[in-house]
């Protein structure tokens, strides 16, 4: 069989259902960077219930190290944290070409609008969740629609 006809036969075949299903179902790993343990636990539980793998970090420094080592598919990042806050972590992360486009979802408190604007503008955060406005189910919904958009 010539190379050309080989390519043609590959192109004419529809993708195997098992392959495409496998790709869609492959578990995405989400890193939760949050210093409030009960909230991190709550996010972890819900994400796992919804078929995600999870990693946790309790401050920006640990978060950054975890990203560099484990390369998660997306990050949920609290802005207000000790040792290294969310904004500093994101600024450092964006210096790595490999992680310029890593999807990051910010968690923050109401009244932090100035910080939000700056982070979104300069650090390419994906979206913001104000802790007092959004419940767990809505966070999961946001993540799922993000992955649908990215991997369609």
């Amino acid at each position: 069989m010539s190379i050309l006809s080989n390519i043609k036969s590959i192109l004419s075949k529809p993708p195997l259902p098992s392959e495409s299903t496998k790709q869609m179902q492959s578990k995405k790993t989400i890193l939760i960077v949050e210093d409030e343990k009960p909230l991190a636990d709550a996010l972890e539980l819900k994400l796992q219930e919804n078929g995600f793998n999870t990693l946790k970090a309790e401050n920006g420094q640990v978060g950054l190290d975890t990203i560099l080592q484990k390369k998660p598919d997306a990050v949920i990042l609290d802005l207000m944290m000790p040792i290294m806050n969310g904004k500093s972590m994101l600024a450092k992360l964006r210096e790595y070409p490999e992680f310029k486009k890593l999807p990051v979802l910010i968690l923050t408190n109401a009244g932090d609008e100035e910080n939000i604007k700056e982070t979104k503008l300069y650090l390419d955060a994906l979206d913001f969740i104000i802790k007092s406005n959004v419940n767990l189910d809505e966070i999961i919904f946001k993540l799922k629609s993000l992955f649908n958009t990215l991997y369609q």
Binding site: E36, K131, L136
Partner: protein, 127 residues
């Protein structure tokens, strides 16, 4: 423990939701509020067996709510678990322990599981 009612006063909806689900699973009835003002109203109306109270909240913060609650005859006695971001040596925590008898849990050291266990042990000790 089916009849025991817990009031959660927490403005972070994710945490509020997770605590509610976990407490429901452990057989508690749960009512919720998202600020101190609403929390105080629900506490005085519904007389829960225990209150979980966040410190940092809009409208009325947790400490102001606790002070007002302790002025009430019923509210003076109800067990309160305060959730705080502060350290154990912080002024606000000393204040909780000294002036407003209550339990406190520091958010950076306490798991979701620890909170539920604390609720259970306090309720058990009451009965």
């Amino acid at each position: 423990m089916a009849s025991h009612k817990i009031l959660i006063i927490e403005d972070e909806l994710s945490l509020q939701q997770a605590l509610k689900e976990k407490l429901n699973m452990s057989g508690f009835a749960v009512i919720t509020a998202t600020n101190g003002k609403e929390g105080l109203k629900k506490a005085l109306e519904e007389h829960p067996q225990l209150i979980i109270l966040d410190v940092l909240m809009p409208k009325m913060d947790g400490m102001t709510m606790l002070r007002e609650l302790r002025n009430d005859v019923w509210g003076a006695e109800v067990p309160v678990i305060v959730l705080t971001n502060k350290n154990a040596d912080d002024e606000i925590v000393t204040q909780i322990v000294d002036d407003q008898p209550a339990y406190y849990l520091i958010k950076s050291d306490t798991s979701l599981h620890d909170i539920i266990e604390k609720v259970k042990s306090i309720i058990l000790a009451q009965n």
